[in-house]
Symmetry: D2
Subunit: 388 residues, 4 copies
């Protein structure tokens, strides 16, 4: 197996983007629980993201959601973030919380609604210029609940037109990233349900349009690492939304539900060159912390990604290829499992300490008293949630 | 095939309970859309349920959700309902929206939380005495999101204890009905995930404890009519929560996602005697109308159940049994499909007219102007939703 | 709703290709049951297919599977088929029953195995020239059972190379159609698991390379009609393999498991122009008759497709579009359901009689004594199954 | 965390039963591949099982399948096994490969078929007396492929009657264990589809009737460790059939598809006392080795169970309970994950060596030349497969 020292450079380069909304309250249609210390403002969300980065060294950027994170002066916000030690990252559009979008946004049969939705995306592109963000990420709630409710084909064509209008304004250094989702909040069809649809739509746009793979957005049993491989092979993988799931879009902590799946995904990430510095693939979290603490939840998440990345990097690919080509089923499988079963936690603790980071970020955060301070300080106001 | 006239008595006896909450606003974690005319009070919800009954003759009772439908005087509420032409039905408890229940209610490791949850159910039993309701329906959001978060076994034992304490107060004419659900809002485990668990728990209680089968609460691919058969065979089916689903607990209009499945369920309902007047099985809707109109949504729903019941009643069981026992696969299947494919809508329209009901309740409601009147009258106040 | 007379021309043009292997014995890994009268030769399979066509007027062509249907003289076989009243259709390659293909065929890491597999397909193209077939259909069992067993990316690249070599020999009037499958017989990954992969591979080849959609080859919950819409929109739908499923690739009679799904698929088929005479989309059955009679099983299947096509053609698209664009959820859904619930069987019976066909092909076949004659005549020899 | 030395006694007591059929050829409906050295006789299968035990010390018994393993003198077979160093274990009945059982066995509507099926089980009980086996394991292929094909309720009642007749002959030291399966080879319904049905059936029989949980026999997304917990709580878990799956009843090597799931199952096994010497719970493999070597496949499998058992035993339950009761979601989850991520392989290697076993059984077997000897010796005859 590869030695740990050999993989240190790749670990040093790893960066995972945090979602600002992970620090606000979230929940289900049944209940959203609040917790003391939850941010009330965009700035407080960014401060929390910076705290995660301070304890882990893994999370140098934070993604924004518009209009949840709307401010008057994005340049000032970018400077605020820089002061905290992080940068602003991907801009996420939101066309699912306005009454106008009840029956769709970019796909709507009414040109006025499409106009409004396209304009929102154009505004996001402007914000990106101010924040210095590279990626506009588009996830659509568009879909329908009943067979016959909407015209699948017409919506797909209108989606293509709307995206083309947005893409025309994407700058030379910017990218449009389209996310797909199997279901929810639409329960009969969604307009971008699978990677094939997302890929077809972005391919029609051009080179700076790519696909976002959210690990929770697939049908039961889907082999996600295969899709990772395929999108990388086709040159169409723009970014990851990491989380984990047992049933649906559960938005649990990445690596919590099926750690071996995360490992296999990272193996294909490396196999396809997506960890290379110039790959352009963005690694983001997209999670909810419905019942667990948010800052430690994010720390746990980036550590999970780091640990699985280390295991995947340790994989002896020369031996693996030899076993694969020899048709040695058990041998090849064991080489993979040997990497997965290697306990990288002690080596990573040492590696962190050598870089001036806490050996055990979870314990260090718990011992820091930071959470108690936030709870004491952040009194009054309205806690952030999935609302602007 | 059986003649339509022969099934008229069974159709005449059919009654489907409506959920008060179907008339309020509902949605997903992403957005709840509101509509003009939505009820602001329990009384307005009951009035809407009565409207559905007036147009269909199918919905003589309405279920309440406590505390969503909490009032000071339940006797007065029952009289109000009677004045509207309906009766109050099942009382649904709710232990998922109080902060105390974040980590469970009847299963919680803290005795004080269990006490609170048990007391809520005892209060529901008192309400039932005032409303004249027979059934206490218990659906629990109890569960966990992460492996290790909770002790599955301890929770199951505590659930048994809590239920026993509640059951001890269930009156001689009352029943406790326990609902199971595969997942959501808990995403790693739910404490009553399947019919086997619900059945084991209620069997330990006694004869007046039964299972509620919600058609949307199963794993993908589950043969639901088999469970209907089995629960009826074991004498443990208390009630149905009807709705339909494509993916998860989508709570769509019953019969909309897979009409043939609803037909097969009704075939087993009849096969197991659950349509008999003394079966004790309650047929309820439990749905959301996230994007469609609510009153017509409920009218559509009860009509769907009626139409599938009629098709199932038309099934030639003598011929079916003969084909089954002869091993005539295609013959038996065709006998079933012949009943399913029979268009019962014209006969049902005649039958309705003969009973003083509109031949086409959907068209009659649309033509009545009732929805417009509600929209004009119900101005101000706070529209009802999944909150008390 | 559209009048039945108006759809008669489209019904008259409908043609469904039968698979020769549907007439042989099939089963599961646990058991293959045999039945009296099962064909022993390719000619007898073709004769049975011709019988289905004689009783229904719906099945003018038969697909062959090579090497299961290997003969010395394909020209003679084509003439035999013509004498029976049918034509030879799609040629299906088979690279999953030779020991050489244990770890793959077109994707294998050993060039010698790929050579053998490519050569098999080139031979199939030659056969197509002799039979006058248009389509070479490729379904691969290629995949792996364990993570690490094979290199997903390398296999995908080799698949592209192998397909390119085959495609280079596809004649100007011929087509290559690539089928995808979610799983089985490979249980960790399949090399063409989804429509996205099939589409990417055939798009890289050229215009005469298309996708085959087998209705049983998707993850649980997949909205198949969406894929139909998308492939038609992209101009990449080559053919259907019809069957139905409750769980996996169950290969049940089309329309048996979820008739409403078949209806929705036919609605999108029509919406996308695939029923037009020049669409080029082939409609085939790909089923097993493990426990039911084979000839009547195929009769039932083509009738199911015909009946659902009729229902879908009756859909009032003008009214539907109006309701969709008005955001009338319940109205649009009801217009769709009205078409689905229309009992087209009497009109189809009349229509058949007017064309010299039996009004009830199932009853006519049962009454014909044909099955008994086959059982009496076809004695001795080896009954056909999934083997050459 | 618990120290490795403290768990050594429990590891020493661990025993996993091997299925004789794992050493024969198996495959899918598409193809069964054969391998050199595959056993031709029951004795050779037992010899192979003994080889697995010799290299691992984990597999002291071997299960038989009747009639696949039918012999004239079971006493002699038991002595042969003892000479090899293993004992005969569970007897598996087989009522799915005789033409009579096409439409069911213990559930069939024809009393003559039920008679035949019951008699087969009575014969199995006699064999158990001769082999000294404790458990009769019943898995039924009974079910149907099409709605309407069979009467679900009647079959369930007949199943109860048939089982009662068998149970009446189960000796005081014997047990009847009923296995459930979600689907396959029946594709519309199976007569024992879920643990609830199996539990209801065996509960009606008596104390020596229990449930067998096959880890591959559940709907997608099912929380299997919950069922383990529940069956143990109800005192109804008789045995495990271990394997793993990605999609359906894939019968892959246990722990290969989702190692974390196997860990969680073992955690509940320990939590419920099933690893205690007197628990009576049997741990068996039920797998196929379609593409991998069989003896090393079985070695890999028992090692996987052992490794996950060790991890689960290392779990710090005191700390876990404290975190659970404190509502410390992340803390409790981490305590669980700490056990899972502990690399127990070096300690297990030492432990094996201390007991005179090879430190690395996989490597030792590969180096032994045993497989090559078998391939050279076992020439001619008919290789064993799923047939008698």
């Amino acid at each position: 197996m590869t030695a740990f020292d050999d993989i240190a450079p790749q670990l040093a380069a790893q960066a995972i983007e945090l979602p600002s909304w992970a620090f606000g309250n979230s929940g289900t249609r049944f209940k959203v629980f609040s917790t003391p210390g939850t941010p009330r403002t965009v700035e407080e969300k960014i401060a929390d993201a910076a705290t995660v980065h301070r304890f882990t060294g893994l999370a140098p950027t934070v993604a924004l959601h518009i209009p949840w994170d709307q401010v008057d002066d994005y340049g000032a916000l970018a400077r605020y973030a820089a002061d905290q030690g992080v940068a602003l990252g991907t801009i996420n559009s939101n066309t699912f919380q306005d009454d106008a979008y009840k029956f769709g946004s970019l796909t709507h049969s009414d040109p006025a609604v499409r106009r409004k939705a396209v304009d929102h995306h154009l505004r996001c592109l402007e914000i990106m210029a101010e924040t210095g963000s590279r990626d506009l990420k588009i996830w659509l709630a568009d879909g329908s609940n009943y067979a016959g409710q909407q015209d699948l084909r017409g919506r797909q064509d209108r989606l293509a037109e709307s995206l083309a209008e947005i893409y025309a304004q994407v700058g030379a250094e910017q990218r449009l990233v389209l996310e797909y989702k199997f279901f929810e909040p639409a329960f009969y069809h969604t307009d971008v349900p699978d990677w094939g649809t997302a890929c077809a739509q972005v391919t029609a746009l051009g080179e700076r349009a790519l696909v976002c793979l959210d690990t929770g957005h697939h049908a039961p049993g889907t082999n996600i690492e295969f899709i990772v491989m395929q999108l990388l092979r086709l040159g169409k993988l723009g970014s990851f939304d990491f989380n984990s799931r047992n049933y649906a879009d559960d938005d649990l902590i990445v690596g919590a539900a099926d750690p071996f799946q995360l490992f296999r995904i990272m193996v294909e990430v490396i196999r396809g060159g997506a960890l290379d510095p110039d790959s352009g693939v963005a690694f983001m979290l997209d999670q909810c912390h419905n019942v667990e603490e948010k800052i430690p939840g994010q720390i746990r998440s980036v550590l999970n990604v780091q640990e699985m990345t280390a295991r995947a990097l340790l994989l002896d690919r020369v031996a693996l290829t030899a076993a694969q080509e020899a048709g040695d089923v058990l041998g090849a499988h064991q080489i993979l499992m040997d990497a997965f079963y290697t306990d990288v936690r002690p080596a990573l603790a040492d590696w962190r300490e050598a870089r001036g980071l806490p050996a055990d970020p979870m314990a260090a955060y718990a011992a820091s008293g930071h959470q108690q301070r936030l709870a004491a300080e952040r009194v009054g106001g309205t806690q952030a949630s999935w609302a602007s």
